[in-house]
Amino acid sequence: MALLEIRDLDAGYGDLQILDGVDMDVGSEAYVAIVGPNGAGKSTVMKSVFGLTTYMGGSIEFDGEEISGLGPSEIITRGLSYVPQSDNVFAGLTVRENLEMGAYTLDGVPESRVEAVFERFPILEERQGQRAGSLSGGQQQMLAMGRALMLDPDLLLLDEPSAGLAPDLVAEMFDRIDEINEAGTAVLMVEQNAKEALRRCDRGYVLVQGQNRHEDTGRALLDDERVRADFLGG
């Protein structure tokens, strides 16, 4: 049984329906990517899993339990973490405080996890006293990742983690994600850097206008002519 099972999900914002019968599976320790054109509803899938959209039907099961009715603070304790697409750091807090907030649900802040994050993103250690809002775009992205890793989740939702990163960091970010994944955390990722994402993931979904369009292994999607033509730019 998959860790995360989305079945026939309808969701949207207020009266506006965006997702129309979306199905998705993320096995435990799997690495899944969602790609698709702008506005397809990729971010909406992620937000729906985290209870941030208007639920309109279908089911979302995590670890065999229905989570579609729960709020984010409940969901996070079950082992999911989420890095939103934008606005993903506390701009007024220092870098360190941002990380501490990532571990808010724990009793104390585990110093070892902070260390681990610093190791992965040394710039954060250097800037730990700086207000997050004044970091560069790329630095903020790293901080957001770091914050989500503080809980050592079972499933990590990443909304365009490589956007705005310099090439070396893009590669590094993907490597880190691989590592995280290899260490046993399942990853569900939305990426516009579709080629790289599909190359690395186990399974990929192509989402168009709120519906599943294609679904296969990453490799297969990369090789699929229709997918290439429509979404990967030749």
Partner: protein, 366 residues
């Protein structure tokens, strides 16, 4: 061209500092004039000391009343215009309690509850009825906090995530409703609370004259400082404080980080409104009288204090309160009485223009 640029940046530099420099000069001028006035006897040391005392007492009242406002301001990101009426509620319920505790048995209940009983015959003061005053303080804290939670549940909670201005408008509605429900039940008109003759006071000799400090002024000062320090410690040395700021910053992200946002908000109201209730009770104690709109009348000055100190900074609220209090009283040295409130507002506006983040604050709301 190079020199052009240099002048450009120099101009910008000077322009940025010019206001500050001008302000500094202005204050220095005032201080110099103050000494001149003292020297020539146009102003006696005793009356200056009187101004300072009045200003300090007012300042501590404002500071104390401002902490709650600063807390809710930073967390919920809106200027709560009902805050003044929370002050009033604190004063009213606290004093009804004090009246009942002192008077029940020897007086009729109704005038006690309506705060209509003669404060003279009741004879309440810190020395004659410390228990009544203590209980009044406790009740004012509890009831005001409860009221704030209730109002949050009914009014503000359904509006979570809306822009600050929408919440501000709702709070104006709350302010009107609360104030005039008080008026509806208790009617207008000032109420005397403490017994003047039973209140000890001390004359401190200053220069040729003296300054009178009453026990109630002293009580206000001591409790205000104690409560401020307590709050600071609470916020500074708990992760709760950081969580509060995180929420103030980005509520969505706080949510997905697993911060129980509702609980943080409730705790903030509880603390903030409790302090506000206490402030209302103590201010009424010091003044010895209250009206159903005394909190509202204080509100703008409290805002001034909080803004001056920097929204969201507890120390800022204290310092801001003192600055506003002293500025308004000391302005009497130069200005006619009718301008002292205006003077305090001018200080606030100038401050906002020169240093929008406040004296001590970092967080600004936009």
């Amino acid at each position: 061209m190079a020199t052009d640029t240099e002048t450009n940046t120099l101009v910008a530099f000077v322009r940025e500092r010019a206001v500050l420099i001008a302000l500094g000069l202005f204050v220095a001028l005032l201080v110099a004039d103050l000494f001149r006035k003292l020297g020539t006897g146009a102003l006696t040391a005793a009356s200056l000391a009187g101004f300072v005392k009045d200003g300090t007492v007012l300042g501590l009242s404002l500071g104390l009343a401002g902490i709650g406002l600063a807390m809710t301001y930073s967390i919920l990101n809106f200027a709560n215009f009902a805050h003044g009426d929370y002050i009033t509620v604190g004063g009213v319920v606290g004093w009804i309690t004090a009246f009942l505790v002192t008077g029940l048995g020897s007086f009729e209940a109704q005038p006690l509850v309506l705060l209509r009983a003669s404060s003279r015959t009741l004879g309440i003061s810190v020395t004659t009825a410390p228990v009544a005053i203590f209980l009044g303080l406790v009740v004012s804290v509890v009831v005001t906090a409860g009221l704030a939670l209730l109002i949050d549940r009914i009014v503000f909670r359904p509006m979570r995530g809306q822009r600050g201005i929408a919440l501000l408008i709702a709070s104006v509605g709350v302010a009107l409703a609360v104030r005039y429900l008080l008026v509806f039940t208790l009617q207008t008109g000032p109420r005397g609370l403490t017994a003047g003759q039973a209140t000890p006071s001390w004359d401190l000799p200053v220069g040729g004259g003296s300054v009178t400090i009453t026990a109630h002024e002293a009580t206000l000062a001591v409790l205000a400082v104690a409560l401020m320090i307590g709050t600071h410690v609470l916020l500074r040395y708990t992760t709760f404080g950081t969580a509060m700021r995180a929420m103030a910053d980005n509520e969505d992200l706080a949510q997905v980080s697993g911060i129980p946002t509702e609980r943080v908000i409730r705790t903030t109201w509880l603390l903030g409104a409790g302090l506000t209730g206490a402030a209302g009770f103590l201010i009424a104690l010091e003044r010895g009288a209250l009206t159903m709109s005394f909190g509202w009348q204080l509100l703008l000055l409290v805002f001034a204090a909080v803004i001056l100190g920097g929204i969201g900074s507890v120390y800022g609220a204290m310092v801001g309160g003192l600055v506003i209090g002293l500025a308004s009283r000391l302005s009497l040295v130069w200005l006619p009485e009718s301008f002292i409130i205006a003077a305090a507002f001018v200080v606030m506006i100038v401050m906002l223009l020169v240093r929008p983040q406040g004296l001590l604050g970092g967080v600004t709301t936009v």
